[in-house]
Subunit: 737 residues, 2 copies
């Protein structure tokens, strides 16, 4: 520490000397020596200054502003660096700041406990955004067209799903994201909200809905220009033109940048020649391909005058109006799948299929009438990134559907386990199985995280509306991370929920059979989860490098952080040893812990990769060697993101009861993340064993607490009884009370 202080050239000699005396472990500063500055401090900072009470950095900046505020801390970068330093030191910023100011902590969840809440009030609050379209989607789910029986033969099932889509299109629910001129509402967030709501029902309908209106229609909208919109969007919205989003290839599942299908410009005929160069380049797993699709947005390498300009999208007719496959096109059905058999996935091969030049979706790059390629985005990587926008919306949609499916599973399991009685004390009535701590531990943390995921996907849905985000790499990172985490969480949540229902959960009527089989695909499509997590980690590393450039100020802060980190955190008894309930339930502790983990994993990942590059290793290999570290980092990032999503709703909840319920939920999400990863926290010295044990105890207590409120949360999900199996309907649930 002393060495680190010496390195900070900008400290005055006096300050340095004072710090030096304070750092002598054999002669710590006396209470009165510390009292004097604390007194000065308390008098000067307004306690309602939100920033000052939220972190030590905020407190420091507030003081610095009062003294005139000049110098390095003026810039947002400088302040950002300080915040990062604070996070990486693992100090409980808010706690320490409040302590310095003599303020009381915000009340811990346990403090007000009894206020009852209702599920309908919760739903009012959580579903307030796009409530009207959500209700319309719920209503549509109950229409006969969408009540598809279980166990239909594949062909019949697909016909029913197509019929369901037609109904949804008639209700105007397919085109909400399109411009008003084409029957839409110009509201992509509403489109995702509908997608999310429909995911309470048959997931084949949802996926085919997403393929048609989201991926296919979305690529015409996002990648095409006025002429394409005019020619196609109306008939896409009316389902007169079913179509495909033909991106994935057999040989390159999640590696979309390397697709091998070609679209070669033939200047003589002014046409594009779309071709599958070899079997591995066939488009694979394409929804709408096996039966219904007429037109496909085909992602292919665009070759103009022998130059490969990278991947672009071209519209290629694959069937005529009578559904006869076009010449030069070969289509094969994918066959029976684990789930989603209402969707007609297929493989497509193109044998030099010619389409007009104008079929190129040319918003970001075009071939002029002169036959020349031009683009306003000169960087091919950046251009490709813009073209993947539809995929980003797709990922937000898959995350949303994963959350909905998990909510259905949890609703069924929690209501069932509340009614189902098994075993009990000698001679007494059997006990509802939800009273067993071990079942609470299976269900309650997943319930808490699912609520957090719901908040997180809603935030992302709203960001899709923000024009400032249209080119946002951060949005891509957020969408990738939430898609991976939500789909993974959905799979494990449904498994736990199914097992909680025992044999009842194994009957197809209970819905778990299709829920599990259908959502299993979510871990793979729109990008395999392990690939997406790496994308998240790379995004974080890029930002980290940008922020951690070579500015002298940052260099100093970074140096200090690296040197002091271990010593400080291990020595700071506030962080590592406090086991009292007030501290363990304090949201500041939760935020600090998850922020610390993310920051530290990010820095160590950067250092490990840097070390390998410095040794001359190629960057691919360097990343591969740190792969599990990167995935760990990505998950830590998402868990932290989910936690942050609770803050706004807790602050804005309309009643103290709801606010308290969300706070308990947030605390359980955070503490169960910390508990699950306590190995890392113990290794890094952030927790002492006693504190880790105390956290385990708190998780158990929060599980029991949330068990009593679980019915409010699942009521708040707002899933209509008609969509639930008998064992989980509200009436029967209520009568079981």
């Amino acid at each position: 520490m002393r060495h680190a202080v010496d390195e900070l050239a900008w400290l005055s000699g006096d300050t340095r000397a004072l710090l030096g005396t304070w750092l002598d472990p054999d002669a710590p500063p006396t209470p009165s020596a510390l009292h004097a500055p604390r007194g000065r401090l308390r008098g000067r900072v307004p306690v309602h200054d939100d920033e000052a009470t939220r972190s030590l950095t905020g407190l420091g900046l507030a003081l610095w502003r009062q003294t005139g505020g000049r110098g390095p801390w003026e810039s947002p970068e400088g302040q950002g660096a300080l915040r990062e330093l604070e996070a990486s030191l693992g100090l409980l910023g808010a706690e320490a700041a409040r302590g310095a100011l003599g303020l009381l902590p915000p009340l811990a969840p346990r403090a007000h406990k009894s206020t009852a809440s209702s599920g309908s009030a919760l739903r009012e609050f959580l579903d307030r955004d796009r409530r009207e379209v959500r209700d319309r989607a719920l209503e549509a789910l109950l229409a006969p067209a969408l009540r598809i029986p279980l166990g239909l033969p594949t062909h019949e099932y697909r016909a029913r799903v197509l019929e369901a889509l037609r109904y949804l299109s008639e209700q105007g629910l397919g085109s909400l994201g399109y411009p008003r001129a084409f029957g839409g509402a110009d509201d992509p967030a509403a489109a995702v909200a509908v997608f999310e709501t429909l995911a309470f029902g048959d997931l084949s309908v949802v996926v085919k809905f997403g393929v048609q209106f989201g991926l296919f229609g979305g690529s015409v909208l996002q990648l095409g220009t006025a002429r394409h919109h005019k020619a196609y969007l109306g008939s896409i919205a009316r389902l007169e033109l079913p179509g495909c989003y033909a991106m994935s290839e057999t040989g390159h599942g999640s590696n979309v940048r390397d697709v091998e299908t070609t679209a070669t410009y033939d200047a003589i005929t002014d046409q594009l020649v779309v071709h599958t160069p070899h079997d591995g380049a066939a488009k694979n797993y394409i929804g709408n391909a096996a039966e219904h699709g007429l037109l496909a947005a085909v992602f292919a390498r665009l070759i103009v005058a022998d130059e490969d300009h990278g991947v672009h999208a071209v519209l290629v007719p694959i069937r005529d109006a009578q559904r006869r496959v076009q010449p030069g096109v070969r289509i094969e059905a994918c066959g029976l799948k684990t789930g989603l058999n209402g969707v007609d996935n297929g493989r497509i091969w193109f044998d030099r299929v010619r389409v007009p030049r104008t079929n190129l979706l040319d918003r970001f790059a075009a071939i002029g009438e002169n036959g020349r390629y031009h683009s306003d985005i000169p960087n091919p990587g950046r251009r490709f990134f813009r073209m993947l926008r539809t995929l980003v919306i797709g990922r937000v949609s898959v995350a949303s559907a994963s959350v909905s499916a998990a909510k259905v599973g949890l609703t069924i399991a929690i209501r069932y386990a509340h009614r189902r009685r098994q075993f009990g004390p000698e001679g007494a009535i059997e006990v509802p199985i939800l009273d067993y701590p071990v079942l609470q531990r299976e269900l309650m943390p997943r319930l808490a995280t699912t609520v957090g995921l719901q908040l997180a996907v809603r935030t992302l849905q709203a960001r899709l509306m923000d024009p400032a985000e249209s080119d946002s790499a951060e949005l891509e990172v957020a969408a990738a991370g939430l898609k991976a985490y939500a789909s993974e969480s959905c799979v494990t949540t449904l498994q736990a929920s199914r097992e909680a229902c025992g044999g009842q959960g194994y009957l197809a009527d209970s819905r778990f059979a299709s829920l599990k089989a259908d959502t299993d695909a979510f871990t793979t499509f729109e990008g395999a989860n392990l690939v997406l997590y790496q994308l998240v980690a790379k995004g974080l590393l890029t930002r980290f490098r940008e922020e951690m450039g070579d500015l002298t100020l940052r260099g100093a802060v970074r140096y200090l952080a690296e040197r002091a980190e271990t010593a400080l955190t291990e020595l700071n008894p506030v962080v590592t040893r406090r086991t009292d309930e007030e501290h363990l339930l304090d949201a500041d502790f939760h935020h600090a812990a998850l922020a610390y983990r993310e920051a530290r994993l990010l820095r160590s990942a950067a250092l490990r990769i840097r070390a390998r590059l410095d040794e001359g290793m190629d960057s691919f290999q360097a990343v591969v060697e740190c792969q599990d570290h990167l995935i760990y980092l990505a998950k830590a990032h998402v868990e932290h993101r989910i936690l942050r999503e609770f803050d706004g709703p807790i602050a804005r909840a309309p009643t103290p009861g709801l606010s308290e319920l969300l706070r308990t939920t947030s605390a359980l999400h955070a503490l169960s993340c910390i508990e699950r990863d306590r190995g890392w926290f113990l290794e890094s010295g952030y927790l002492e064993p006693g504190k880790a044990r105390a956290i385990r105890g708190q998780v158990g207590r929060l599980c029991a607490e949330l068990r009593d409120q679980a019915h409010v949360l699942v009521d708040g999900f707002g899933i209509p009884d008609e969509l639930l199996p008998e064992i989980a309907r509200r009436e029967s649930f209520d009568s079981g009370l």
Copy 2:
């Protein structure tokens, strides 16, 4: 420590004084002071004494025998107490004993690395037990009768499954466990071996096979007497008499002791009246009930002269030869299930159905001609336990089938991931995805644990043959634990394997759809896993209490253990800090760590429950409050058990190459268990953070090492190509090399 030594009254004054001087931390014994006894010791113990080099207890006993061997250590109980003390102290017994004797450690896996092994040699070795019937079962799997296509409508599927059973019965594979007089081989282990092998194929066939020949036929065999055997076993074996094992009820899934169906003896007509008293007491989920079953072994409370004698089994005809349901019997099909739709599960209600008194399966309890109830087993709990024998065999069978299904999944995933290439360095050929560390971490530890589970279920199969085990509570504990752990492990292994295959794994052709859907039931039937884990924990606690009675000797040892434990383990740098590869890969370290965890969790669970009982809490509530602790203990016990299963095969493997491969596999099982649970090990002070990190590194290295040998292990599973999807056939795998 000093205090503990003082308490050991049997130490001589001199010894006590000497120990006292050694225990002074400021004046530790000099090397030469320690050298003298070590020299004496080394001269006296024969280094080929296996026991003496395996633990400090063994070493002590060897010395004690040389000095005449009298006193408290003579009894097996005394020696057991010492061993337990050693385990709970967390000392690395073998390492320390070898150190004391100046012996070198056994070679770590890394030491001989290159020896190649072949899958066929591995299979020769692993499948040597009951090889002939295993081969017959494999051959049967390839017969047309068992090649059931995917996606059949339910009724057709069930007919095909029945046909498959008929074929298996014709091959004599159904009755291997029955006496020779009824066409069998009197070899229950062979019956389970066949069941295990058949589980490479369609799992509906396997489950229906188990219902007919195992549960139904087994209950006639185990619970009936000569007259039942003669009347039924032959026709059961020939599938002329399909039947049901009607135990579970709607209201009491896994709580079989509390079934409510009654069988009331009517002395006037000399009949039993079988009755379903209310809707919740209907028999539920009964295999063979919905379509094919003619006779059912019904578990009901036997009431004779108004006295309830608890649960007994009665044979009740449910259909006549034309499959018409009998009067008084009502049967309802369970309907479509998540999986296993080739099995016709149903619900059965009995409305005062009368059967002759002699239909009672009366091996353990009978109603005499005089109308009186009598049993040679007066204790009702013990009697019921004997009657559940069929269920114990059933659990061993489910564990075996779980292992087989996991092996199929791993074979597909590993072969696919070895061939599938995705991403790669700039401009170079893409990399096989199995080369990615993150995929290795998903698959290799599961592969290692699956191999260990295979060894463990084989041991259990053999124990089923041992007459001495017919009443063994330990066998019940082992069967329950392995059933729960293997089925849970199967579910997660199949999920990871499916995801490793990406979209390919989602196609039904890849087999994952049915593998996942079918095995999902394994977590619930024959006892829900959470219930079985508690049964394991209770079994361990019972044994612990029996062993830890109030014998003075044991009291002393126990006292010492409790007092010294924490201090010793935390102070013992051998255990907590060594991070060198030789130590981390040493099997002794693995055994010590898993033994320590189990012993400590067991003792703390006992103390926690005891404390609650002492406070006057009722025992049900006391157990409920410690439920997650108990489940943790049960899993720790099973993981330790699996590890121990490797020892014999490593020692007996026919070639050094195989022995080495098994040692690597064993090390990865152990270290990945420790890594996954490093939070606990760090909390308990058994590991220091640096060692935990070193273990993580070793797991990564072992994953990479096993990746290179993975094809040998999966070849060793011996799954015929015909049962695998194209992406996983051996030929294509080899050509991909």
